[in-house]
Structure formats: C-alpha cells, structure tokens
C-alpha cells in the first residue's frame, strides 16, 4: 500500500477543515496579554490562562462597536470562531464580540474615559466658567418630550418668568444621542443662543444615560463658551458630562432651581435696598436740616437770608459792586446759601410727598403724633396727586416713643 504523502498545503487545509467545521462560534474566557491596537484599528492580542494561550484578533468593523478599550491583564469573555491561516500556519480566534468578565463593559468604558479626560485636565476647576447671576436666555438641550423638560419648564416659569427659554430638541438615548447632544451644544455656541445651557435627561439605566458618558458630548461641553449645567438622571447617577460641566445639578429639576434666582427673591432684595436708601436719605436730610437751623439762627446768616429773600437781583448787583476780599466772601456765602436753599426744597413737604411720603391732617392741622388722634376720627391724607379721607381704625404707639 502506497504511503499517503501530504503536501503542507493539503495538511493545513485538512486541519483548517477539521477545526473550522467542528468548532462553530464559541464563547471563550481568558486574560488579555500583548494587547495592540493596530493603526488600521484592528485589535491583536493573546488570550491566556495558567496553562495555555491562543492568538486573538478583532477586526476593525467589530472593534468600533466595543465601548471600552481592552488592556493587558483584563479578563475577557469573547464570542468568536477559530480560524486557521494557511500562509502563516497559525490558528487564532477571530472575535465577534467581547465583554469584560465580571464587571460590565460600560462600567469599564466609563472608568477608562473618566481617567483619560481627567488626565487631560478636562475636569479641572480652572476651566469651570461662572454661571450668570441673571441669565435672560436659557437653553435646554434635552428631549422635547418626557418628564425632565416638563419639570424644568414648570420650575422656570414659576420662579423666573423673566427668562426666555430655548429648547434644543435632541435624542437623549439611542445610537445618535451623543452626536445629537454635542451638535446642539455646538450650535448653541455658534449662534450664541443663550446665556447658559442645561443639558440632561430624566433617570434611567446606565445604558439609557450612556450618551452623557460619551467623549463627543464631554468634548462639546468642555469647548462650550456658554456655561453648561449637567442634569442627568437622579442624584446618585454620575456621568462624564457631570465632571466636565461647569456645574453638576443632581436632577433636571434641581438644575432649573439652581440656574435662576426666584423673582420674589429679587423683588424682596430690591425693596430692602429701597428701604435702606430712603433711611439713609432721611438721616442725611435731617442732619443737613439741623445744620441749616443752626446756621439760620446766627445773625449774619439771618441778614443774608433776609436780603436774598427780599431781592436777589439787587443782591447780585450789590455783589458785583463790592470788591476784593468782601466780594470773595460774599460769593462764598452766596454759594452756601444756594446749597442750603436746595436742601430746603428737598425737604419741603411737596418734594417729600412726590417721593412717596404722605401728609395726614385732622381738621386742617398736620398730625405729627398719635396722641392727636382718637379712634373714629376722620383724617385727610395728601399724596402727590390728590387726597383722600379715612377713618382711624386703630391706634398703636411705638414703644420707643413711649
């Protein structure tokens, strides 16, 4: 019987046939070593355990769908086919999909991107922009449907009817979500549509929130010249966008609360300010008035005032006739008097009334003390543009005047 002599090609084909037909797609678990990402984006590495190893390859078309980056020492569970390469006389596993053994692949991807962007400085406080104290235009980069936008609109309309709101509708989950969010943030910057941007969505699984963990969104937020508040999911959800954003709000509702100051708060602050100003002015006028009274009592001032009041023109004439030091002095006194006259005008009841003070009279006499009043008295109150009468309901003395 003639010996069967194989050619190398024949043998290799036989092995290839045996292996590839008897070993259909299979799951394999092992530790990664010699991991390389080729510039063509194909991945090459070895999977091994304590006693053996096998070459592994993941072609680019499949590698692009891998959300995380494998690394040496990582335990992977892969689905693949054993392939024999005749030219090299080698066999290897051709990987269709891979996931980390133990932890979820998204979790790994999250940690990897977080570490990389952190190292790049994208989370540094020095890049955080301050939020505007009084935004007039707020952009919401979120889904136009769903609870998150409803909550935000409700809060913003209630607290800050003074802002205009622009909604940049985006997909917040699914394949196009990251690109759609990033594009909207870029568009908002290109057109300067707003003073501040809120981007986010309501709660969901890690997969649902994934767009906010993608590098594209992180980079768009980082590049934004308009301050960005991230508002993704619930309080316990942290995303990459949260770390890059100028401010992280625990929820979309919280973002809406944080971004504006309540209108009532501003109004209260303004009336507080008005009160302080009026108080300061009252003190000042009182002080100047006392000064004036003291001056008026002095004989010299009395004389000048009389003369001024009698005939200013004649006085001016007199001034010009006078010469030298006397003239100088007269001018000085005259200036001072004019100033004092202005003070008097400012404290004149009519002037005060125009500023919101009122004058109350009883039987034609100004009421300056509650002792002049009885319950049931009819009084007349003068305002800047008219008067009204009223009946005294209750009288209450201030303690410190007692």
């Amino acid at each position: 019987m003639e010996k069967k002599i194989y050619s190398v090609t024949e043998l290799t084909r036989t092995i290839k046939n045996l292996l590839e037909t008897h070993l259909p797609s299979l799951w394999l678990e092992g530790e990664v070593s010699n991991y390389k990402r080729h510039y063509s984006q194909h991945l090459y590495f070895t999977l091994k355990d304590a006693n053996a190893q096998i070459a592994a390859v993941m072609w680019r078309s499949r590698a692009v769908r891998l959300p995380f980056e494998p690394e040496d020492g990582m335990h992977l569970r892969v689905l693949g086919n054993v392939r024999v390469y005749e030219q090299g006389g080698r066999y290897q596993i051709d990987i269709l999909q891979a996931e980390p053994a133990g932890v979820g692949s998204l979790q790994i991807a999250f940690e990897q991107l977080k570490a990389r962007l952190h190292a790049e400085g994208l989370f540094d406080d020095s890049h955080k922009k301050p939020l505007p104290l009084f935004p007039k235009r707020i952009a919401l980069v979120t889904s136009p449907t769903g609870a998150a936008i409803r909550d935000m609109l409700n809060i913003l309309s209630r607290r800050a009817p003074y802002v205009d709101i622009f909604i940049l509708p985006v997909a917040v989950q699914g394949e196009n979500a990251a690109a759609s969010i990033a594009d909207a943030i870029e568009m908002c910057n290109r057109h300067r549509c707003a003073d501040v941007i809120i981007t986010g969505r309501g709660g969901g699984s890690l997969e649902d929130l994934w767009a906010f963990n993608e590098e594209r969104v992180a980079r768009a937020v980082f590049k934004s010249r308009i301050p960005v508040i991230s508002a993704v999911g619930h309080e316990t959800d942290f995303t990459i966008t949260d770390f890059v954003a100028d401010l992280r709000a625990p929820t979309p509702s919280a973002a809406a609360e944080l971004v504006v100051t309540d209108k009532e708060e501003w109004l209260a602050r303004l009336s507080g300010q008005a009160g302080r100003l009026m108080q300061a002015m009252r003190h000042l006028l009182q002080y100047k008035n006392d000064q004036l009274n003291r001056l008026s009592e002095s004989h010299v001032m009395q004389r000048w005032q009389d003369r001024l009041n009698q005939n200013r023109q004649r006085l001016d004439l007199t001034h010009t006739r006078l010469s030298g030091a006397m003239n100088q002095r007269l001018l000085r006194e005259n200036n001072r008097l004019q100033l004092l006259e202005r003070t008097l005008r400012a404290t004149h009841p009519d002037t005060l009334i125009k500023r919101g003070y009122s004058l109350t009279l009883k039987n034609g006499r100004v009421v300056t003390t509650v002792h002049a009043l009885k319950e049931g008295d009819t009084v007349e109150t003068r305002l800047a543009d008219g008067r009204f009468t009223a009946q005294v309901a209750t009288i209450k003395k201030d303690d410190h005047h007692a």
Binding site: L133, K136, P144, Y162, L168, P169, C188, L277, M281
Partner: protein, 73 residues
C-alpha cells in the same frame, strides 16, 4: 455706567450707591443725584423682572445654517 446696562451691573451699582449714602459723607447735592440714580436703577431692575410674556421656543438649525424658532406647544 455703560449705555446698555445689564441687570447685574445695575444691582452692583445699587449696592455701591447704598453704601455711599449710608456712609453719609457726600455733599447733599451729590447725595440727591445718587439717590435719584438709585431709584432709576431700581425701576430698571423691576422692569427686567417683569417680562410679562415668557417665550418658550424650540430652536433648530436649517440646512443652510439659519436658526428656526418655533413656539413650544
């Protein structure tokens, strides 16, 4: 103060004026001038807060890059 002032600028100017007047060291005419300025600033701030018609719109970008506004609901 710049011609087109913002709410922030008005509030900060108000703080300054209040401090100046409470200090009470300015001459009367200057004080009155500031007092009047302060009330104008407050009127401005109130007006800014009184945007009676809040606009809520969606913005999208057309193919040509122009913005398209649409009232939200």
């Amino acid at each position: 103060m710049p011609k087109k002032k913002t709410f922030e600028q008005a509030m900060s100017r108000l703080d300054d004026i209040t401090a100046l007047l409470e200090n009470g060291e300015l001459p009367l005419d200057e004080s009155i001038r500031l007092y009047e300025e302060a009330f104008k600033l407050m009127a401005f701030c109130r007006k800014e807060l009184d945007n009676a018609e809040q606009k809520i719109r969606t913005i999208t970008e057309s193919g040509s890059g122009a913005l398209q506004y649409q009232d939200f609901e």
